[in-house]
């Protein structure tokens, strides 16, 4: 039976969730969704770029700017925004750029998961420790994303394990790991510095 105390308790428990997901009120929710959508647009834009790479034997090395967008949106605006950037970026990007929806948009969920994981923590971009935390959580998000992509591919799309490992998992990791370890913290720091300059009182 629902009591007044229980109801109050539910409200108390929901508060951290809303704060964590930056959905405290209408204004905050608006900005969270807007930034997520802007991230999705940037994701789509970066996905059209032909990035330089180097193949050594069967390993492909390079930078993936798309996952930087997801991680940064998650880091700066929380998990919901980060998830939106990844999910909408992949799902709508696939539809607009390639006229397809792959695996019922489960791949979008895989990418959104990265933004979600990164956004679960808060960061002080002025400190190296926090930037390192950002790198590590981005790495965790990346690995989860890559594994989920392969699982979805094998189970839903039905492609071979060899293709999943050789053409999805390996390139994702050999390009993604340097990206999240190097480019994500550097970009976060630069954006933070620009933010401080544009908004001297902080945000």
């Amino acid at each position: 039976m629902m009591t007044e105390d229980n109801q109050m308790g539910t409200q108390e428990q929901s508060k951290p969730f809303r704060v964590l997901f930056r959905l405290e009120d209408i204004t905050s929710s608006f900005w969270t969704i807007l930034i997520g959508l802007i991230g999705a647009v940037l994701f789509m834009a970066f996905s059209t770029l032909s990035m330089p790479f180097l193949a050594i034997s069967l390993f492909k090395f390079g930078i993936l700017p798309t996952i930087v967008i997801i991680a940064l949106v998650g880091a700066f605006r929380g998990p919901f925004s980060g998830f939106l950037a990844g999910y909408i970026g992949v799902a709508v990007g696939d539809l607009l750029l390639h006229s397809t929806i792959v695996s019922f948009t489960l791949q979008g969920i895989a990418y959104g998961l990265m933004g979600l994981v990164v956004g679960l923590s808060s960061y002080n971009f002025a400190t190296g420790r926090s930037l390192a935390k950002l790198s590590i959580l981005s790495l965790v998000g990346l690995v989860l994303t890559a594994l989920l992509l392969v699982v979805v591919g094998i189970v839903v799309e039905g492609y071979s394990v060899l293709v999943g490992i050789g053409f999805v998992l390996l390139p994702m990791l050999t390009q993604g790991i340097p990206t999240v370890l190097l480019l994500v913290p550097v970009s976060a720091r630069v954006i933070h510095a620009a933010e401080l300059k544009a908004l001297p009182t902080g945000s």
């Binding site: 930037l131 340097p178 720091r189 510095a193």
Partner: protein, 547 residues
């Protein structure tokens, strides 16, 4: 801001690491895009984007292929850089499909017909026709046919073991039961004649077409027989099995031969029985083609105790599932759907969506590949790559450029681009995966990207075409010809060219001294010579209208 940013050791270290890593992995950038402008000359507007074009990468790849093919680099029976020693039985296919690919490229700049392209095409045909007598075990004849492991030589129809006077010998390399070589060889020759019109291969080509007609409409001795020698209206390979894909090659050849020389083999019903046979006996539940039909028990065939139960004649069966399913493959369909479209578009075009649906597998929005067989979709190997390569051209021919690009994104970005020091040649380095793929991945790019498909090439050029102005001589080693075509409606030659070092081009067939225009302004008249008109260009990139 700079101070704020740099006052953090972690940031500084990661920034240095990023710069080092980005520097080390900085490569494989896209080749320069060609420029296509708009010009108005004498009140007539010329939009270069309206004309067919090939890009810088395709030309660099062609220059690389030339080092493998041209007799200037190696004799016909040498195979340096082909890495084909472990792929004897496949090598001639590489030669054939290379010819089809470059023919699409030649057609894209059909007003550029110097020795460079012509000699390449001729040398490729000569490599295809290397004989045991001259090149021993390095010949295609040995590698494709008479290699002892194939057991193709002692073959008579219908009796394979005790031939008597009523049997027909079909075991020759050039004989009626080797369509997997004769078909390709003849199509290579017919494309050469279509593109360059020298007449030098016409007789040999005509012999093959007549021989096929004899095989398909008579008992082989000239007596009319429905379904031909083997009663199926198709010509076998190996030599006891017929394939849709292999027969699609001589069908295109016959169409083109009829179109070029005003013969009527197709109208005469040469292939009708075979197409009906395919429809009735070589399709699956989707209406797509199955991969192979045995007209007889193959010589030396040993039925595996754990394999499927074959009946002869009957369809080839899947050897992995082993439950009597027919053998199906994407390479069979990707190939046949494209090459049969000219003749049988009413059948093949509606099958394309089903083909992509059944055989396509999506890795992401921008990447997909084609599985070898839907009977066992979770395996991956050579034939999946083969099916993927064949589908590139089919998707292009169908105008499905989204699928074409998604397939390109699957394979090619895995390989480094290797450019020569002078920037003239480029190939994709496949050595870590499979060296034999190197030439195929090179011409595969042209196969996928050139704006012409095999269906276009089945039409002959109009008789008027040979009177149009064209580039007959040039300093080919100094130029990149992206667009070259005579616009017969506007009476002007369109030339989009990059010049590395001062180069001269000779134009033939102009009936008056032409003037070259750039950006709508006259650069000057071409210089009249005995054999045409000469244009000299300094290094640079030009969009020229010549009229």
């Amino acid at each position: 801001m700079k101070t704020t940013v740099m006052s953090n050791k972690f940031f500084t270290i990661t920034l240095i690491g990023l710069i080092v890593f980005a520097g080390l992995s900085f490569g494989n950038l896209p080749a320069p895009q060609i420029t296509v402008g708009v010009q108005v000359v004498d009140g007539v507007t010329f939009r270069f984007a309206d004309y067919m074009a090939i890009d810088h990468l395709q030309l660099a790849i062609f220059n690389y292929l030339n080092t493998l093919v041209s007799s200037d680099f190696q004799p016909y029976g040498s195979w340096d850089g082909w890495y084909a020693d472990d792929f004897f039985g496949l090598q001639h296919y590489v030669l054939a499909f290379m010819q089809y690919s470059v023919s699409m490229m030649f057609e894209s700049t059909l007003g550029y017909r110097t020795d460079y392209y012509r000699n390449f095409s001729r040398d490729l045909i000569r490599k295809m026709n290397t004989t045991e007598a001259e090149w021993c075990n390095n010949s295609i004849e040995y590698r494709e046919w008479s290699n002892p492991s194939y057991n193709f030589l002692d073959y008579w129809w219908p009796n394979t073991t005790t031939p008597d006077s009523d049997d027909l010998y079909v075991g020759g390399f050039r004989g009626p039961a080797n369509i997997m070589w004769t078909g390709h060889y003849a199509l290579m020759m017919s494309l050469f004649e279509r593109n360059f019109n020298t007449g030098e291969m016409r007789d040999e080509l005509g012999w093959f077409v007549a021989d096929w007609n004899n095989s398909l409409t008579t008992d082989g001795f000239g007596n009319p027989k429905e379904g031909g020698i083997w009663g199926v209206g198709l010509i076998p390979c190996e030599p006891y099995i017929v394939f849709v894909q292999c027969n699609s090659i001589p069908i295109v050849t016959t169409e083109l031969y009829d179109n070029m020389y005003n013969t009527s083999y197709m109208e005469g019903g040469m292939w009708e029985y075979g197409l009906d046979f395919i429809e009735a006996n070589m399709t699956d539940n989707y209406g797509l083609f199955t991969d192979g039909y045995y007209m007889m028990k193959p010589t030396g065939f040993v039925e595996s105790p754990t394999g499927p139960d074959y009946t002869f004649p009957g369809p080839s069966l899947d050897r992995i599932t082993n439950d009597g399913r027919r053998q199906v493959s994407s390479y069979c369909n990707g190939w046949a759907l494209a090459f049969l479209e000219y003749t049988w578009g009413g059948k093949t075009i509606p099958l394309y969506p089903a083909y992509i649906d059944v055989y396509g597998r999506e890795l992401s929005g921008d990447r997909m590949y084609i599985i070898d067989s839907y009977n066992h979709p979770s395996t991956f190997g050579t034939f999946d790559i083969l099916g993927t390569l064949f589908t590139l051209h089919l998707a292009k021919q169908r105008g499905d450029f989204v699928t074409r690009d998604r397939i390109l994104n699957f394979l090619w970005p895995a390989f480094n681009q290797v450019w020569s020091e002078d920037g003239r040649t480029m190939h994709f380095d496949t050595m870590s995966l499979e060296p034999f793929l190197q030439s195929a991945m090179a011409f595969g790019w042209i196969w996928a990207k050139s704006p012409v498909s095999i269906k276009d090439l089945a039409d002959a050029r109009s008789p008027d075409f040979w009177n149009y102005p064209y580039i007959s001589k040039a300093d080919d080693a100094n130029i990149w010809v992206y667009q070259a075509v005579w616009d017969s409606l506007k009476d002007a030659f369109i030339l989009n060219i990059r010049v590395d070092a001062t180069a001269t081009l000779t134009f033939s067939n102009f009936v008056h001294t032409p003037t070259a225009y750039s950006s709508g302004y006259a650069l000057g008249e071409l210089v009249s010579l005995g054999d045409g008109f000469r244009l000299t260009l300094d290094p640079g990139v030009y969009n020229l209208v010549i009229k």
